[in-house]
Symmetry: C2
Subunit: 134 residues, 2 copies
């Protein structure tokens, strides 16, 4: 695998509406797709007009990884997502190399992209996401 | 200003040589320019073949912002850098809008790029860098 483009950086925040203006007004980022993702207990919004984005993520329930991150570390950078052209074959290749995967098969991410997370133990301590984009 | 491409994400680490293999071998990133930047008390290396990169940063002296970051928060994501086409005029425009700048004029960054940092107070709590690239 060779990653190239950073698709987005994910920031955990307490309140999406309170944080959107800084990105929209200071960095000139368009406010894009916004969704509650019940299986992860978060609401997220994608900011920017591409090719790279900022994804703001806020917990909507208490018992999730993102809620624990916010309680422990406060708001800030949470993960980095790189584009790969073929996610399923990339995950197989990484698994064969002994890389620790959080998602062994692609799942649906914000805006309908297929995504998968790699475990920070395999990626220098930084939570790393792969996003399929052809 | 409208930011688009994420030029790099900066990760603070304790030891560059210990962390490079994860990025080179797992994410397939080329090991690029590496420099000690004495004025900032850090050594840094750029990883990747573009258009986006990971910049690993390790302190080489004790009394720097990066050394304090590492002591307080441990290794992890430190800043996000976006490409802008004209940095000097962008900084003037941001200052006119009341955005808090760490660097009011461009300075030399890793590999000779001209860069400037915006204060996290103006950018949703995340240290944000602008990199000039035409």
């Amino acid at each position: 695998m060779h990653v190239g483009l950073i698709h987005h950086v994910g920031y955990v925040v307490a309140d999406l509406d309170a944080e959107i203006p800084a990105y929209r007004d200071v960095l000139g980022m368009e406010v894009g797709v916004r969704e509650v993702m019940p299986d992860q207990g978060v609401e997220a919004v994608m900011l920017g007009s591409g090719p790279s984005y900022v994804e703001l993520i806020a917990p909507v329930t208490e018992d999730t990884g993102v809620a624990r991150f916010l309680a422990k570390k406060g708001p800030g950078m949470h993960h980095v997502a790189f584009v790969v052209p073929h996610l399923e074959s990339t995950l197989r290749e990484l698994a064969d190399e002994g890389v620790e995967l959080i998602d062994t098969v692609p799942r649906r991410g914000l805006g309908g992209h297929m995504v998968a997370f790699l475990h920070p133990r395999s990626t220098g301590g930084v939570l790393t996401e792969l996003v399929e984009d052809h």
